[in-house]
């Protein structure tokens, strides 16, 4: 696998779009969290609202231990970026027909698709690492002492990142054409699923939360106003949610492999 990854790295190393998007992603995670952090500081430091904020919100979200959950929650909104990167990288292979050439030159189909899946794993892992570092940067700004309580949300973020990554791989290998794949991905991940989820939650007994991407989003609720959130929609049944999320991930992997192993390239 290391040998395969080295070849993927040769493809990416001199690809400018990869570096630009990666930099953008990194800046966005830190930047978006900084904006929310800044708003939090303003609210808590205003004399009049200070007491009120502490009464309603409780601890500052960016203080330990909620910082793990808060950073994961906020960063989750940016997961479309690594998905975009993944789609571009894979559909490039289709448009350059290098997916054929790699096979012709001696990779097996399994090798080709496995290394892409491992890449999705690595990107999810790297995203998680960035979130951990970001959380620590902001957490240490505030007086609460370091704590690993609620660190499980960082793990949930990893699952969420993996889920977004694999969904983008699915769209890439099914649609094959870059522009269309990106369009469909954005329409679904950013708009369609959210609408569908709200509709299903409203009319179909809260089932909207079990949609592919929504189910991983549900793992990390906003750590503020939780009681109010629960009045709008009850807490999910977490064991069931975990089962659903796992099933989705397994289904993605099986589908991607079968699709690539069996179809014409």
């Amino acid at each position: 696998m290391l040998k395969l990854l080295r070849i993927e790295w040769m493809k990416l190393k001199h690809y400018r779009t990869f570096w630009i998007l990666s930099a953008l992603y990194l800046i966005s995670i830190v930047g978006l969290n900084f904006i929310v952090f800044y708003v939090q500081q303003r609210i808590f430091e205003e004399k009049q609202s200070k007491g009120l904020a502490e009464l309603v919100i409780g601890n500052r979200p960016y203080s330990f231990p909620t910082v793990w959950q808060m950073t994961s929650y906020v960063s989750g909104f940016l997961l479309f970026l690594p998905g975009l990167l993944m789609i571009i990288f894979i559909t490039n292979e289709y448009s350059f027909k290098t997916h054929r050439q790699n096979i012709i030159d001696g990779w097996s189909r399994k090798e080709f698709i496995s290394v892409k899946l491992v890449l999705a794993l690595i990107i999810a892992f790297a995203s998680t690492l960035i979130v951990i570092i970001t959380a620590m940067i902001f957490g240490f700004q505030l007086e609460n002492s370091f704590s690993l309580d609620k660190f499980e949300h960082v793990g949930y973020f990893f699952i969420q990142a993996l889920s977004y990554g694999l969904v983008s791989v699915i769209i890439a290998v099914v649609v094959r054409r870059g522009g269309l794949a990106i369009g469909i991905y954005f329409m679904y991940a950013v708009v369609l699923e959210n609408v569908l989820s709200k509709v299903m939650n409203h009319w179909l007994n809260d089932t909207g939360r079990f949609l592919p991407l929504q189910s991983t989003d549900e793992l990390i609720p906003l750590p503020v106003f939780e009681r109010m959130q629960r009045q709008i929609i009850g807490a999910p049944n977490y064991p069931v949610l975990f089962v659903v999320v796992t099933l989705y991930l397994v289904a993605y992997l099986v589908f991607i492999q079968r699709k690539f192993l069996r179809s014409d390239l």
């Binding site: 070849i7 040769m10 493809k11 350059f96 027909k97 050439q101 012709i104 030159d105």
Partner: protein
């Protein structure tokens, strides 16, 4: 593809000939595992096919497929890495196809001919014993075409097995020892080039009285068929056996004065047309 079955002997230059859309690329796609056949099987080196075989085969399938944003040299590094070879052969193959000076340029800046030559260079990596070329002279200028054919001939001389798909008849005739002809996914002929694409000589003879001329000509020997076409009579002979002097002499002796006498080579296109036509009517 429909019930195509053929074997490529080791060390030959095997041409696959057929009009556009006859299934040449499809067939090569199946044996390189980029296309899935609904049924049937194939073998490489007398073994069940596997990815490792393809590392020992240099293949150019349809179009040059490379990363547009990488230089020619970096693209070859990826190919070499996949094939499991070091980079040491890259300068050599780049020089062989005259791309050494442009090795640092991005693939996207290459002309069609340069792209094609880079693909040929990639095929040569690792000195494979089998080469598969699908329309290798596509997009090349006349010099490039001549060079490529030269390269293929040299590779054949080195004892490599070459599978060459082409819709260009003279290309196949010039470089191949064996040929298979495909049409609409069916195999309509296969074997040695001289057998499959056996040519005929045509003697065109003209005189005032065509009817008399034809009856006189019928009494000569050696021809395989005869017919009147317009204001000439055509006699068909196996390659190299038409003798114009004896025709002239024979006619003169029998009281027919010729006003037209010409030896024509039957073109490959006609032969090919005949082969594909007869397959159509079957």
């Amino acid at each position: 593809m429909n019930k195509v079955s053929l074997e490529v002997p080791e060390g030959c230059v095997f041409g696959i000939l057929g009009p556009n859309g006859s299934g040449k690329t499809t067939m090569l796609g199946i044996v390189t595992d980029v296309l899935k056949a609904t049924s049937g099987s194939f073998r490489w080196f007398d073994e069940e096919p596997q990815a490792a075989h393809r590392r020992k085969i240099g293949t150019l399938l349809e179009t040059p497929n490379f990363y547009h944003y990488l230089s020619g040299e970096r693209n070859l590094r990826i190919a070499a890495e996949i094939k499991g070879h070091g980079r040491d052969q890259i300068p050599d193959v780049l020089k062989r196809v005259n791309l050494w000076d442009r090795r640092h340029s991005k693939f996207s800046t290459y002309s069609l001919g340069m792209k094609q030559r880079l693909a040929l260079a990639s095929c040569l990596l690792g000195d494979p014993s089998v080469l598969v070329f699908d329309e290798p002279t596509n997009g090349l200028d006349p010099v490039g075409i001549a060079e490529t054919r030269d390269l293929i001939k040299r590779l054949a001389k080195e004892g490599k097995t070459i599978i060459l798909a082409s819709h260009l008849l003279d290309e196949v005739e010039k470089v191949c020892s064996h040929v298979a002809i495909l049409q609409k996914g069916k195999l309509i002929a296969a074997g040695h080039v001289d057998q499959v694409l056996a040519n005929e000589d045509i003697a065109e003879v003209g005189a005032e009285n065509l009817a008399k001329l034809e009856s006189v000509l019928r009494s000569t020997n050696g021809w395989s068929s005869i017919k009147t076409e317009g204001n000439v009579v055509q006699l068909f002979y196996p390659v190299g056996t038409a003798r114009l002097e004896s025709i002239n002499e024979h006619c003169f002796k029998n009281g027919v004065i010729l006003n037209h006498l010409q030896l024509k080579k039957k073109s490959l296109e006609v032969k090919f047309f005949e082969l594909t036509q007869s397959a159509n009517t079957k």
